[in-house]
Amino acid sequence: MSHKLVLEAGRTERQYWRDLWRYRELFYFLAWRDFMVRYKQTLVGVAWSLVRPVLTMAVLTVVVKLGKLPTGTVPGPLFVFAAMLPWQFFSTAMSESGTSLLNNSNLLTKVYFPRLVMPVSAVIVSLVDFFISGVFLAVLMAIFRFVPPVQVFFLPLIILMVFAAAVGTGLWLAALMVKYRDVRFIVQFLVQFGLYASPVILKTSMVPEQWHGLPLRLLYFINPVVGIIDGFRWCLLGGDNLIYWPGFLVSTVVVLTVLVSGLWYFRSMERTFADNI
């Protein structure tokens, strides 16, 4: 028999990765569902996924101009948008995938499928939004007649890094939220404060002189979004947007740690999801 399956306490593990492969199309279908459903019964439809980043960018650009914050060699809107792109992807992906299990609890208690599909497909939805906003960035660059530097070819790697960061945090939040609804509120705070804790309107090199003595500046990069934004600006804008490599390394390590531990925690809690939700 091709589908032999043994269920025992603590042993459902074995078939898990094989199952995940078998259910690979579900990633796509769930993401597709969430994307379709979001713009049903709206007038402008998909255009909404452009409106939000564009408006936020406009507001933040005004803040940058009024505050006379340095944007270096690049035009203000580009400077802000290049950072907003990864930040918005990270924050929506994190909160969407964090709440994904709870929002689909009716499925969770009725059907079997590898639960990992749920938070990951929520991140994929945000990724689609991210690419839509990316098109707008390209348009913006064309308007400013801005040619991205050579390092733009490293961009896919940095995108992979945000993706990993979003999945990692999403897994942690989703698994915690099944048991502790408190997390739902924590997520809201994370999204709100994260904008200030991340250098969306700042240059990371603006960290005060006296901080440049190693540990403090490195500490800032423990927030992985800092390293990611640094990476984005470096790839897309170049010029005086340099990567602070030690910091970037710290961010990368943090992302990997969150991803691996998130996977581990999610997997260890997964078998009790249906009982606890």
């Binding site: 028999m1 032999k4 459903v37 019964q41 969770l108 009725k110 079997y112 499928f113």
Partner: protein, 416 residues
Amino acid sequence: MSENIINVSNLAKCYPLVHQEKWVAGLRHSLENTLRNPASWFRGAPKHEELFWALKDVSFSVKMGEVIGVIGRNGAGKSTLLKILSRITEPTKGRVELNGRVSSLLEVGSGFHGDLSGRENIFLNGAILGMTKAEIEKKFDEIVAFSECEKFLDTPVKRYSSGMGMRLAFSVAAHLEPEILIVDEVLAVGDAAFQKKCLGKMQEVSNTKGRTVLFVSHNMAAVQQLTTRSIVMDKGMVKFFGSTDEAVEIYSSTAGAEAATFFDVDKTPRKLKFSGAVRFVHFRFDRVAPYFEAGEDFSFCAKVRASEDVPQFRVSLTISTEEGTAVGACFGPERPGLRRGEETEVKITLKNPRLAPGRYSCTVAVGRGSHRTTQTDFDVVPDTLTFEVLPEEGEAGTVAAWHRHWGSVAFPDLAY
């Protein structure tokens, strides 16, 4: 064909009973514990919780191509068993071996998204149940034809009637062609014609394709029609596994033991005070279980005791639905009186009350007179006597479906 497709041995599942305050404490409680004793985080929850064993030591095996009924009262462990078999939850102890793909029929709405069209939902639901896009495309026309929803394929599912939604859900699941199909109480929805179609499909699936079906239902007639062997679950254990006819008998008798057929009301205080000239002592149903088939006469025995000389008395009753809505009432004729201290048992029969399938309770009164004359009551016992009306058999062995919104009385068939 004789290979075992399902092997369950010593299966047990326990749930911790969490009390409300502890639950509210949620995160704080856990954080506190973790901070005080960091090692506990790795060892899991403290062990002093109260435990509830939903399944205890369940073992059975099912051969390929068998259709097995699973019956039992609510809370007997049927759903837990199914949840383990369909891998939604993990067993606490024991072992299950499955030699094939398992698919369970979804409740309407759980796999569907109301905003998506029927067409989109077929793909979504199929994917959730583990089908690939290619598989769904191959079966698409068949699924649509079976569900009889062709016209509404591009209508959002939220505009479907519940029957249509159910048809679509059943169609997707039935075409998944799993080796093991789990069907849980779906036939309660849908009209008789579709019920028949579903039963037919399930029979076809098991006979011609050698699939195994686990059929869970409270509907004895459907279980008897569809299955030859059944499992009776009781208090988390397998009480019986064998021929369906025997299983149904055992189920009815255990159900009867739990659902009372004898009601001692001699000492119970009355909510409504009446003279008590004649008082009820007990009621009993003259059968093994408080079940009546649709179309059957409703009858029970009531024992009364007189505390003073009464020249005449009659019994009257009101039947109410489970929700407490009165369905109807009737009075009996006056009977010869009783002397002080005298007791007698009266057999009361209501000829075919035409009650629709469902649970009912009966308020019984003893007194004088009726709605045609003046009337007084000596004693009233409200809602003590409870009973259930079972559905009658429908056309060609299917079960007649009675929708709740049709009311509680099944009028006689129409005449033209």
